[in-house]
Symmetry: C4
Subunit: 218 residues, 4 copies
């Protein structure tokens, strides 16, 4: 269990388990803090109040799915990781620093939608932070690839799916930032696109019908 | 420790440890956030104020036991799990998304009980979320069973107990939703029913008297 | 790594790692939430305001040390644990339910001390919760002992130290509850008594002088 | 996996995994709570309000990097740790007790900068807490070294880098405390200095050009 002291100096394997534990904690807390922005506002009956608070629910779902999608990427990434180095740990901290901020613009966007005001600044900030989270997630992947931190033998479907989705997602965010009217709808669409595994679901359906009998012998 | 690269493509074993770590963080944090809704309200002496705040304590206990019971189910489930796949990870995220919401209606219900008002909407929303948590927990179990994600050899008593309790619990929630007067009492009863292991306690008592001497040789 | 399926039915080893992870999360969050009660109050200069807020700092330290001491007990306990059973998991949940509550009376006591009012109710509630935490911690230990959940071979110094301190601590809490004037001072004293390892520190000093040279050959 | 019962009495190996789990939780949570202090204040347009809130963002980044840097030190330290003893666990608790406090002065400093008031007390308290965190982190390292808790064979670059940076950092904090005008700028500079691995980045660049071909054969 102790890391092998024979690893070449300066590139020794840092245990990645604590990076995973700390990151899981931060992802989990950031996701949970989002609930503090849920609140029902004064006017109307109880039912009306609950219904009128929909922007908060929408922003909650978008932010939760974005954090969840980033966690899925992070898991897929560290799953293939052979080791972490010092720069990787720092890049990871930078990603977490931005993820932790997410509950803040989420609350601002919820208020903006609620007031139906034109405060596009908040929506833009929110989109920029979503974009930066995505870019930093891909930067972690690119850095690990470049420094040969991945175990060679493994081919991770989850990570490939994330890489395939990178360009469409970035284009989506840029469009959202350019056309504020569409922004929130696009953020929601991207969050769903990032977390729902359409291919895998289709494949699972096919497997279920085609090879259910073979599963047990696998 | 690295997952076997020979697992058949498209069904390779994703490490389940990070799913457990992330889930534990979210369960723990959601349970802890409940305490933010505990507060003593203005009128009366200190003792009266503390005593009058009972609805908050009751809602706290119901929500804590519901989260605790879901955690017990989740633990039993992943304990038997041989591996997770991509859809399982997403279903798990969906379950966590709803668990995290729980502190929000908990606060609303506490306020409703305190005001003795007729704001049944909050009590109903609370019950719906409790019901959805239970349904998603059982969906995880059903999905794992259907996709043969469980290790074949093991028979989990905890999971069987959860399955046995599924129908009574769902019926209990539906009755609570239909008869708001009974709702909070039923929520409390269900939470106790879910977490107190009556059978196991009885069995432990029997074991204690019948086979205490054999335990050491086991 | 998968638990041995040959364990006798009804007493099979539940993995204790998730119980530890969940408990660590809850202990950590409850300890961190305490900081939300730290606040500087309006009157006076900045320095005066900071100094006048001392009751909050004192209550913070007492609660943090109590949670820390409970975590130390919990760690020592699960360290010796061979396995957990269903009742143990529930007892553990009950302990966590009470630990999570702690930030609430901590805030009340801080306010009481600040106002120099006679609101002994809050101080009493605080003490009762501290006492219940201690009793539940010892109940976990007693249950594990009674059900032979501990590994036979090991002798845990940390756990013995906790058991040795049990009676003095309970007496201390009872005195504090009976004599409210002494309560906060006693809570503080007990928290220090629980977490500062006087014997171990003395022994470390002796070891340092007596056997420093032998340490390397050990 | 169970610790060897043959370890000499009084110095038996306490499992360090729970200390890591608990610490990761507290570090992660303290870092996440910082976001609660981010808020946009009333006057001006939405954009002006967001821009005027810069002190909060600055304080957030300084505190996050300080917690992140302490986590990096903590990881490097426990990575080399062969075992923990009872005093080490207590020193660790003390470090966490101070880390958890950090969101409190962070909020005060943000308010002070925002008001452009002369409330140096808050800035000084903030710096004192940053300094104490650093001293306690180094105390953990010194204690582990003194009690021979580290595994002999390993040479940790990360830990050496922390030790090398110790004196400049302490001098930086002392200067900041003596010259309040420079304080916040210095806190920021120290946080960057602690977390950005200049040497390692330079070395990575060199490695990339010089030995990229040899990496695969390593």
């Amino acid at each position: 269990m102790p890391p092998d002291p024979d690893t070449p100096r300066g590139r020794r394997a840092l245990s990645k388990s604590r990076m995973e534990g700390f990151s899981d904690g931060v992802f989990g807390f950031a996701a949970t803090l989002l609930v503090l922005d849920l609140a029902v506002h004064p006017p109307g009956t109880a039912l009306q109040r609950v219904l009128h608070a929909w922007p908060g629910y929408l922003a909650y779902v978008v932010s939760f799915l974005t954090i969840g999608g980033t966690w899925l990427l992070h898991t897929a990434l560290t799953d293939q990781l052979d080791r972490a180095d010092q720069l990787f740990l720092r890049l990871n901290l930078l990603l977490l620093l931005v993820v932790v901020v997410l509950p803040f613009p989420t609350g601002l966007v919820a208020k903006t939608l609620y007031n139906a005001g034109g405060e596009r600044v908040y929506v833009t900030i929110y989109g920029l932070i979503l974009l930066v989270i995505r870019l930093l997630g891909s930067a972690l992947d690119a850095y690990a690839r470049h420094q040969h931190l991945y175990a060679e033998a493994r081919e991770g479907e989850e990570l490939h799916s994330t890489q395939r989705k990178f360009l469409p997602v970035v284009i989506g965010y840029v469009v959202a930032l350019a056309v504020p009217v569409l922004a929130v709808a696009l953020y929601f669409g991207i969050a769903v696109y990032l977390t729902v595994p359409f291919r895998e679901a289709a494949r699972a359906l096919i497997r279920r019908h085609g090879s259910a009998g073979q599963d047990r012998s696998g």
